[in-house]
């Protein structure tokens, strides 16, 4: 059974349309990450699922039950907020217990549930503390605990790691993933961070300007981005996108005066068809007989280095090379055919051979 279903969800604020029709189905226990730049509508989508906003059109079903017109508290959901939203005057225990108290659970049962959640999250020693006495990571855990004790049908995460420092973020990311796997609760996770999205999600939904552009597994999104937006958004540093033209019966692309072979692929378009050629920085290889690019900047990252090349005002190219690769004023590179992505220049959509 589907854990969460969205049916033609639309939302407008005044004349501005934020969501332009989203359909989505999450399998029971699945973790789906919605990723996109700010303003793409991902938070609005999450808030509609939570019941904090009402959709202009469309239905929301949780575990088969239509909850579109229900209050947030009646939807059997739990939400983790970006700034944690802990009740500042309540102890950690009371923060976790508050929702259960309102539901009128017996004291002993509340105690048992909070104890179970706090031992799962390693919060046993902190139960009497106030939120302001906790570190960012601990607060985050309390926020998770508050969600867990509810035993909800659906977890909603609204950029929960954005307020943490980089190291803690990596650690909490792992914890969230382990916890979600263990509890097997259907989860919707919103983030603008593509690394978080790649590591956390069973599937990704990339949103752009209120429209879902690609819904697929992280590997699929990375290896076969649906359009130039996804190609540029997922992956760091971003994929090189070079405008060019098809040639030789659709088996090669001319980019910046150089002919690049597409290998065994053949695109059924007329020669001269405008395309965008995509290749990730880590896939560009040095080749003494390849095309020459002037080197602009070299950034050392430790074991690797980033090379920014290109002529001013023309196409730019970024390469990720092993540290210590030979470097001069110009660099000669080749694009292995297996790693090339071809997009329609007019629509931005991925082209399949």
């Amino acid at each position: 059974m589907a854990g969460l279903e969205l049916d033609g969800l639309r939302k407008s604020f005044g004349t501005t349309e934020i969501l332009k029709g989203v359909d989505l189905a999450l399998a029971d226990g699945e973790m789906l990450v919605i990723v996109g730049a700010s303003g793409c509508g991902k938070s609005t989508l999450l808030r509609i699922v939570a019941g904090l906003e009402t959709p202009t059109m469309g239905r929301v079903r949780i575990d088969g039950r239509d909850v579109t017109d229900l209050d947030p508290s009646a939807r059997d959901i739990a939400m983790v907020f970006q700034n944690y939203a802990l009740y500042p005057h309540m102890s950690v225990f009371d923060n976790m217990a508050y929702g259960l108290k309102i539901r009128g659970l017996p004291r002993a049962e509340i105690r048992a549930k909070v104890d179970a959640a706090s031992s799962l999250l390693g919060l046993e020693a902190l139960l009497e503390r106030k939120p302001r006495q906790l570190s960012g990571g601990q607060r985050q855990r309390v926020a998770m605990g508050r969600a867990i004790v509810r035993d909800p049908k659906l977890f909603l995460f609204d950029e929960p790691l954005s307020n943490l420092d980089a190291k803690l973020r990596v650690q909490m990311r792992g914890e969230i993933r382990r916890l979600q796997r263990r509890l097997k609760v259907t989860s919707l996770y919103v983030t603008h961070d593509q690394v978080e999205a790649m590591t956390l999600g069973d599937r990704l939904l990339v949103m752009h300007r209120g429209v879902p552009v690609q819904l697929a597994t992280p590997t699929e999104v990375f290896e076969r981005p649906a359009d130039t937006y996804v190609a540029g958004f997922i992956g760091s540093p971003a994929m090189n996108l070079l405008p060019g033209r098809l040639g030789r019966n659709g088996t090669m692309v001319t980019v910046a005066g150089a002919d690049i072979d597409l290998g065994s692929r053949r695109f059924d378009r007329p020669d001269g068809f405008p395309v965008v050629l995509g290749i990730r920085p880590e896939h560009v290889v040095l080749d003494a007989s390849g095309m020459a690019w002037p080197v602009e900047v070299v950034e050392l990252l430790g074991s690797e280095m980033l090379v920014h090349a290109g002529r001013p005002g023309e196409a730019a190219l970024t390469l990720k090379l092993a540290n210590g690769a030979p470097m001069g004023d110009t660099i000669r590179v080749a694009f292995p055919a297996a790693h090339l992505h071809v997009f329609d220049q007019a629509s931005g959509l991925r082209m399949e051979a």
């Binding site: 939570a50 019941g51 904090l52 209050d71 947030p72 508290s73 959901i77 739990a78 939400m79 907020f81 970006q82 700034n83 944690y84 939203a85 802990l86 009740y87 500042p88 005057h89 508050y98 929702g99 309102i102 539901r103 302001r132 508050r146």
Partner: protein, 277 residues
């Protein structure tokens, strides 16, 4: 100039300012223990005459010419100040809650109406308010003394600002936890704004304690004399004024508001300076 000398200047300024503020109070304390005639001649000594301390017992129990015992006036003042402080908070808390967190027709109109009353303090609407109290037969009653002073926009505005600073996520977390509007107010909003409520209480208590014009007008019954009114009544026009008793009463009138400020100081400062948390 050395760093040490530079440090002395602010201290000198501060000490001067403290002396400036404390001197009149000290004169009142010292004067209250001295002979009335000496004070009337303007020959107040800055050294208190300890044998004259009995004057405090005298004014508390028996009062002075023109005014009843001061314990009674203190009680009336305390009752009035507390009623005004609690009444204003009880009234402005729900109204600020309504205009801040709920969407209803004419919400902003309601807010601006409340705001407008800022321009109409009791002193401005003295005659019509008296008229209303008179028609309601509330002249010379404790209710008549306090009610018109309770209606105020200041507290509502202050609470609104406090509530606006409450993060949206907190409200939403409570909604998801299933807290209804009244529960949210009781369990979260009031505890979160505790420091602000305390700060407001201090301000309103002092405001209520210092009221003069309205009590003078609405309560002619000596039983309802506040301590501020008592002091004025003690300063006779025809009879000789017992200045030591006037000063003793002034000192007594000073104690409760000072006590409230000192007791609530920690909260008071927190409420005025701290944003959320």
């Amino acid at each position: 100039m050395s760093r040490r000398a530079l440090n002395l200047i602010p201290h000198a300024v501060l000490i001067l300012a403290i002396l400036l503020f404390a001197l009149p109070i000290w004169i009142a304390i010292a004067g209250s223990t001295q002979d009335s005639a000496v004070i009337a001649r303007g020959e107040v000594s800055l050294v208190p005459n300890l044998s004259g301390l009995g004057v405090y017992r005298d004014v508390l129990m028996d009062g002075s010419a023109g005014a009843g015992p001061v314990w009674r006036a203190l009680l009336v003042s305390a009752g009035m100040a507390l009623a005004i402080a609690f009444g204003k908070i009880a009234l402005s808390l729900p109204s600020a809650y309504a205009v801040t967190f709920f969407r209803f027709p004419f919400r902003m109109a309601a807010f601006w109406l409340i705001f407008l009353t800022l321009m109409l303090p009791v002193e401005v609407r003295l005659i019509p308010t008296f008229q209303v109290m008179s028609s309601l037969d509330l002249i010379n009653s404790f209710t008549g003394l306090t009610i018109p002073l309770i209606a105020s926009a200041t507290a509502t505005l202050l609470f609104r600002q406090t509530f606006l600073a409450v993060p949206d996520e907190l409200v939403e977390a409570a909604r998801i936890d299933g807290a209804g509007p009244l529960r949210f107010l009781r369990d979260i909003l009031i505890p979160v704004s505790g420091a602000n409520i305390a700060a407001l209480f201090v301000i309103l208590f002092v405001y209520g304690w210092n009221q003069y014009l309205w009590p003078l007008l609405v309560a002619t019954d000596p039983k309802l004399d506040t301590v501020v009114i008592s002091i004025v009544k003690m300063i006779g026009v025809d009879t000789a004024t017992e200045w030591n008793k006037v000063m003793a009463t002034a000192v007594l009138a000073l104690i409760p508001p000072v006590a409230v400020v000192l007791l609530m100081q920690r909260w008071f400062v927190k409420g005025l300076t701290e944003g959320d948390k």
